[in-house]
Symmetry: C2
Subunit: 118 residues, 2 copies
Amino acid sequence: MQIGMLSRRTGVSVRMLRYYEEEGLITPARRASGYRDYGADDEAIVTAIRMLSEAGLKLDFIRRFLPCLRSDGPILHPCPDLLSAMEEEMRTLDERIGKYRESRSMLGSYYEEMRAHA
Amino acid sequence: MQIGMLSRRTGVSVRMLRYYEEEGLITPARRASGYRDYGADDEAIVTAIRMLSEAGLKLDFIRRFLPCLRSDGPILHPCPDLLSAMEEEMRTLDERIGKYRESRSMLGSYYEEMRAHA
DNA sequence: CTAAACTCTGACAGCGATGTGAGGGTCAAG
DNA sequence: CTTGACCCTCACATCGCTGTCAGAGTTTAG
């Protein structure tokens, strides 16, 4: 599958697909022409990357976490530092979610108050 | 109150306090010397800005939302476009929270799985 | 008066994720 | 063969936030 197709299927820009490769997240095969040739499972991987990325995880971290995402993957090899990195990441994620909810409710209550006074 | 003091009290860097001013979020008085002179309520405002900011809201939006934060404020004047901007913001905030939770649980389940296989 | 600790402005740097454009191949259909 | 749609690499630009450094004035304590 060519990059344009993958882009259309995942909604991720061509630019970003190339960037993901540059960052070592995906490594598509190459044709003789130099064209990237993506496999079928790459679609799922890109989607997962996207999701994690949109949730604020740095590509840097996602790269390390990546082996877990590969369907063909060798059942996950929990390098201990990955485990602790994940704990760390989960903590900050929890914190972040907390802050978002706080802000959300703050916004919400102000909104209600404003509507009431309108 | 000088900028350094406010910085220490709020945990917001001096740089950022100046930046907030530059962006029109706060407007401290000035001494003859040019030194910024913050009022007592500025501390609360900065804290609120910080919270909203850490929750991913752009300063641009926070500025518009700001009158609501001032304790002395004239009870909130709901310009209709602010109301709809808030609705919009709340929606995206909700979406974002959703994504974060998804990612969080994704991370969590992989984490558990890895621990189990360890 | 002097020194230490603050403060001022202004500007440049960096981060991570993206866009965009230039200059140039590739491929499939007509 | 030509054309249009793709693709390649490289590199510079942008965005929002933040740090940092330089050069210079201010304030307070000794």
